[in-house]
Amino acid sequence: MKISLDWIREFVTVDIPRQELLDRLTMIGLVADTVEERDGDAVLDLETYANRPDTLGHLGVAREIGAMLGLSLNEKNWPLAELPQATTEIAEVQILSESLCPRYCGLVVRDVPVGPSPDWLERRIEAMGLRPINNVVDVSNYVLFATAQPIHTFDFGKIGGGRIVVRKAKRGETLKDLDGRTLELTTDMLVIADESRPVALAGVIGGEASGITGATRDVFIESANFDPVGIRKTAKKLGLSTDASYRFERGADVGFAPQAALMAASLLTQMGGQASRGLIDVYPKPHQPKFVRLRLRRIAELLGVDVPESFVVEVLGRLGFRVEGTHKGVWRVEAPTFRVDVGLEADLIEEVARFYGYDRIPSEFSPVRSFDLSVNRKRERLGKIRQTLLGQGFDEVINWSFADPEKEAAAGSGLRPVDIQNPISSRASVLRTTLLPGLLENAAWNLNRGLEGVHVFELGDVFYWEGDKHREELHLGLLTTGLLPGAGWTSAPAETDFYVLKGAIEALMEALRFEPVAFEDRDHPHFEPGQALALLYKGLAVGCLGALRKSLAAASAGDRTVFAAEVDLTSLFEKTPRIFQYAPVPKFPGVSRDLSFLLDRGIAYQEVGQALAKLNPSLLEGFELRDRFSGPSIPAAKVSLTVRFRFRHPQRTLVAEEVDRVEQDIVGHLRSTLNIQLREGKIDNRT
């Protein structure tokens, strides 16, 4: 809102330096900047709040300044040259929709010489950043910016029958507005009509046909009050926002409507017009005063400071409240009609605090009377996931929750995405169902800028429809492609692979103690056929990992292979991990043996483990893969595995013969179940 300091001085005599005024206004919540200086006047740009429509006019701002500086508002006379004829003899006003129009005031000014405004008025209008049009239009703008009460002026000669009817639009009615647009009206919109047709869209904009022109002689001044919600709905529906609708939708001062009409009439009569006698004021259900109880004790309880009683009474009085003491330290406060924001004691306490000064309220530490004893497992687990993945060399990213519907479709999660009704752009018009497209974009961005590898993870929500219910799930996404970081002068850079990805997932599941996990071959639309696994915990698939489909990866990573994984943490976290218990450190030495086997390439390593689990040999403490290779020294259809077996007896030291027996069992079992041949073995290591 533009505020002219010169104009403010019409209402209150301010004589402190401008910078001091701006600083002090800031501290009562009115933040303003000087935007321009013109002819000794300074025009400020004032930030206003949606709940304070009274500050959308100079009078309201002057009232705040008066309360701040302890100054009274200046009285101003609005003399009127009146005709002998009463307004009611010339015009008639009828409200058919009282809920949308609580009050309507009007009068006629005859023989107005329509022409340029006097200099002082043009200056005011220009200070508001508007171009003066003619004295009638300028006067209505003057009243609006002076008092925040919108005024409308009609060419009275164009009002059929001299009748003003405030009613809802009829089906199919249209109105050509002052800007020449034809508005299609709907039956929920309030119009000002004459005896036959709409002449204005109530509280929003006037009609062209009844507008002021050089030929206008008699002017009808409208000063009304309209329902804020009705105005807002109408303005939104038609995509209009005017100085009038902006004020009405925030709430105009129902008590001020007659005074505003008289101000406008006074100015027009000073320019040569003659006003009809008496105001038409249709006000079927007069405003009931709003009384709020204010307790001195409550002020201290909420603010944490004792404000003197006299200060409370003085400030509220200057702001236009009527304050009446009922008991000691208790007041009955009547809010003025322009303070549509005040309805609770807390609202009054805010007024007291604003003028008392937030800086005079002490600073105290908020006492802790009890602690929240709920345990936030989710955050604890997310912390572990982050720590593990950062340790595995993955960088953390945060991507948009929005997604491009085309890229979503290409990723093929198979889930129905949630559409946004009013998206910022068509390429961000759905919510993501998977984290993968975002991670792929991160790969593209960084590879295009010369990085040789991208290894990233994201923790974030995905969204989709399940029937008519929306689902929101926390996911973990991982992506790795290109050279691994961390190569130094002692080692050459290494290319990432699937096992880097799988290792990261194994590590984080271990860190979370969601063990044991299982992996199963399972094709998934994200991944190349036969190059994807499902991650399972307690039989439930909670994620997938694999080599991304070439067609999906190509646009981001060229011909590099991209490995990626996605884990549904919401589902995983619903499971309870096993409780951790320590295992005693062995008292007796064990034996480990490295055995090398030849097996068919069609056999998965996991099957070896499953076979061993089924055999469950005694003394076998554990085993791990030490080496795997294929090449010219072994048959083409075969692969060699070297497995280290660890044997131990809990109560005594092992002897070689008993290890030999178990070893033979193992070798025999693997041969008979999976046709696995022993290649070499028997290297004893005491452990």
Binding site: G304, S366, R369, E396, G631
Partner: protein, 344 residues
């Protein structure tokens, strides 16, 4: 694999035998060329052969070849000391070479900054709460005292999914969700993603991170709000930072306050400062006493309990703290940007 191991073992023995014969710079150079020569050096040829090793074995084979290369280089280095004639004693090891570091990933700066904020409040006895990013109009607006069709909603430009379903424009709906299920005293912070229908510019994006705080208790005062937030700001920006509270408006607090900190970029001396515009103050958080109507909406008696709340944008605060000029950097995920926030 086994072949390669054998070959390397043979070459290792050959190198040791040849090394014994080196007596001058010339024979040293010949040995260097035989093993490290660019075309036919033994090590070079080993690297060539690596290309034909199957993928599963490549890692182990590469490790062995590299280890052998290091062995040869170390050997040549030791010999160099022996044959040098400029009188400088050879180093057994050059300890000035850079150390070996394991690469550790970089946390996202917004997560890092959020954790800093969380830790300050955890230390003051606050618990952390979260809520959904898709919200209903009731939780996002109505329960927070935004009447339907009120212009106050204009400052919270909303992305809608259905008439009643939207992307939360702030983390405040979680205040309502928590107050519905917990009795006071309540002492929580709420971090999370929020969404606005904003046209992107250097300091506005349609998605950003917020952290919200709420205290509801008997006797909670505006003085507590001031003291606690001042402590928080000093913990984040240093003991000496100046803080001011000025009146503002939010539908869900009454009285409301905007909190400014002094501009650490220009100290208020630069009229064209892009952080404070020369005012010397930078708006950092919104706060206020919980509006009694909001307490009534969740069946908490506003006569018995009072509360205070605050909210701040993690992105913009982090921008200010780290001197970042464009908010979008947080979501571009350029690793050259992100890695500055981790161990390098």
């Amino acid at each position: 694999m086994a072949d390669l191991k054998d070959r390397i073992e043979g070459l290792r023995k050959a190198f040791e035998a040849e090394a014994l014969k080196v007596g001058d710079a010339k024979s040293l150079e010949e040995l260097r060329t035989a093993f490290l020569g660019r075309k036919k050096g033994h090590v070079t040829l080993l690297f060539e052969d690596l290309k034909t090793v199957p993928a599963e074995d490549k890692r182990e084979a590469g490790r062995q070849v590299n280890a052998f290369k290091t062995f040869v280089q170390d050997g040549l280095l030791a010999l160099e000391g022996k044959v040098r004639s400029d009188g400088r004693p050879a180093r057994a090891m050059d300890l000035t070479l850079p150390g070996r570091k394991k690469y550790v990933g970089a946390p996202h700066p917004l997560v890092l900054f959020q954790q800093e904020i969380e830790n300050i409040f955890l230390g003051m006895g606050f618990a952390i709460e979260e809520g959904p990013e898709i919200e209903t109009d009731y939780y996002n607006f109505e329960a927070l005292n935004f009447p339907p069709h009120h212009p106050a909603r204009d400052s919270w430009d909303t992305l809608y999914i259905k008439d009643d379903l939207l992307l939360r424009t702030h983390t405040s709906p979680v205040q309502i969700r928590v107050m519905e299920k917990k009795k006071p005293p309540i002492r929580i912070i709420i971090p999370g993603r929020v969404f606005r229908r904003e046209t992107p510019d250097p300091t506005h994006l349609p998605m950003f991170m917020q952290v919200e705080g709420l205290v509801v208790d008997e006797g909670a005062t505006f003085a507590h709000l001031k003291g606690t937030l001042e402590y928080f700001i000093r913990a984040l920006f240093g003991e000496k930072i100046k803080v001011r509270f000025r009146p503002s408006f939010f539908p869900f607090t009454e009285p409301s306050a905007e909190v400014d900190i002094e501009c650490i970029v220009c100290d208020g001396k630069d009229p064209s400062c892009r952080v404070c515009g020369g005012t010397g103050w930078k708006e950092i958080l919104g706060s206020g006493m919980v509006n009694p109507q909001v307490l009534k909406n969740v069946n908490i008696d506003p006569e018995k309990y009072s509360g205070w709340a605050f909210g701040l944008g993690i992105d913009r605060t982090a921008m200010f703290a780290y001197g970042i000029t464009e908010m979008r950097h947080f979501y571009e995920n350029d690793l050259r940007f992100l890695r500055q926030f981790g161990a390098k």
